[in-house]
Subunit: 339 residues, 2 copies
Amino acid sequence: MTLTSTNICLTEYPKGLPTEETFQTTTTDVVPAGDGEITVKNHWMSVDPYMRGRMTGIKTYIEPFQIGEPLEGGAVGEVTHSGHKDFKVGDWVMTMLGWRSLFTAKVEDMQKVMLQKIDPNMLPPQAFLGVAGMPGLTAYAGLYKVAELQPGETVLVSGAAGAVGSTVCQLAKADGATVIGIAGTDAKCKWLLDHGCDSAINYKTSDNMTKAIRNAAPGGIDVYFENVGGIMLEAALNNMKIFGRMAVCGMISAYNDETPVPGPSNLVQIVGKSLKVQGFIVSNYSKYALEYFAKLGPLMASGQLVQQETVLEGLDKAPEAFLRLFSGDKQGKMLVKIT
Amino acid sequence: MTLTSTNICLTEYPKGLPTEETFQTTTTDVVPAGDGEITVKNHWMSVDPYMRGRMTGIKTYIEPFQIGEPLEGGAVGEVTHSGHKDFKVGDWVMTMLGWRSLFTAKVEDMQKVMLQKIDPNMLPPQAFLGVAGMPGLTAYAGLYKVAELQPGETVLVSGAAGAVGSTVCQLAKADGATVIGIAGTDAKCKWLLDHGCDSAINYKTSDNMTKAIRNAAPGGIDVYFENVGGIMLEAALNNMKIFGRMAVCGMISAYNDETPVPGPSNLVQIVGKSLKVQGFIVSNYSKYALEYFAKLGPLMASGQLVQQETVLEGLDKAPEAFLRLFSGDKQGKMLVKIT
């Protein structure tokens, strides 16, 4: 018996904003699991901004995607065939082998694709791609390990309605911080206000971000969680308190720049305010996963931390889902349900 | 008896680069020290880039200078009259009451001007304004406490021929680091090569700073000591290793900007390389002064750390000395000898 996987691949390394033409669908034959292998049918996959960095053909902290090969990314699915004693048919697993409907792989080779079992009775399986997965741990690591949030501080979050940002806001609020979220629609801002933000700023309708942040936090910002860059960073710098910390998780505003766009003109404030601006990659903080889950469980049980989702149905919608990360046309965690 | 002090004051808060007209000389009567007071005749004063930030009329981490009042800054001088039991005529002291020929002040009020006795038999008195003073401690704090230099690392220093930068280079070299200095003349670069730098880059004659740094440090930079900003920061970002640290001491290239100049377009590398970019102010590191002096003593005794100086004679030369910090027309520590 041979199975067929549908896959999404790159047709080229895009310059600037990718389009639907950047992607193509392929099908490949998949042999069901033999000895030491498992076959997994993916049910959910994640699209994340960092994937844009793997579409450049340049090695950064991670290998680039290969043209014509299935893309990779977080996915959860069910084991349909198993030749390995630790996995049985019906088990749910999370891997980095998204962007495809199914795959067979040798278990002992799957450490690099971060194979792990998940319990879909504990949380909805797609939560392991969001608050209970990489975006959630990113939020936790940035807020507590990089920015070292202290009790009673004021936190500013850009990209606040996204998968990472919305988790940052809710974690900070649960710890009693004053939280200001920045997002790009009134609907996103309303969601933020309904989920723990003390203030929410729509950057698309604000004509002066520096002033808007100052109005929301007249005493200044202790911690800035950076997902966006550009004018957000400039306005944040203007509002930081002395000894403020910036956890730099991403700068999505720059990911599709064809020609480099100059940075903020007020970086000198890093000196005068003794700021710490620190970039980080979640994979260097995986040792904190258990610590994070211990915090996450009670917060989810009490409803203090929820996962907002935008779900597109069908693997063929994965490119659209990815592109909507950059247009901002989604709320919360962007997911593709592979039925 | 009344004494006369000659003082340098601001005539205005300068826009852009200050000129000689930004400054004026005044004279004031000074009554010799009464009970609890000392009178000090200044012999040396320091000019430092940070002073430009006090000429804006805006409070930053420090109060602005007042128009028509004597400026302030590091100075060393001799006690000429004393009404305080802890000071006798002939003692040498360091204070922040530079830019004037002499002053009388109450000892108990002088903590905020950092009154301290110095021993001119230990080091030339002007060294307390350089390697054995604030610039030296700045270098030490940035390199070890902010950037956390580790054995065997590669260090890049901008403004490397200045008072702080040249101390950074020599400290790092004494610890076995590979050191690359950036300066603005061939003479400065030669001095750097003669004093511990493995490579020296003249940014005024280099047409591609990113490439010049890469040639000097093909394996990348662990620690960047930032005094300049702008194109130096951009080129440094391009060459940082993963987990690199930037100690941001100053951004002199921006201090006289009348309209804000955009920053580097490659800040996103802070994320991909997990960089820590940290600003600092030396006054927050004064607790490390003794630790620094313990390290400095043997290095000066062995000649591994020297103070290079440019000296202008006469208090009336203080404005010129200050302006030459920005034109770069000096080598090492810029000093004014007040005879």
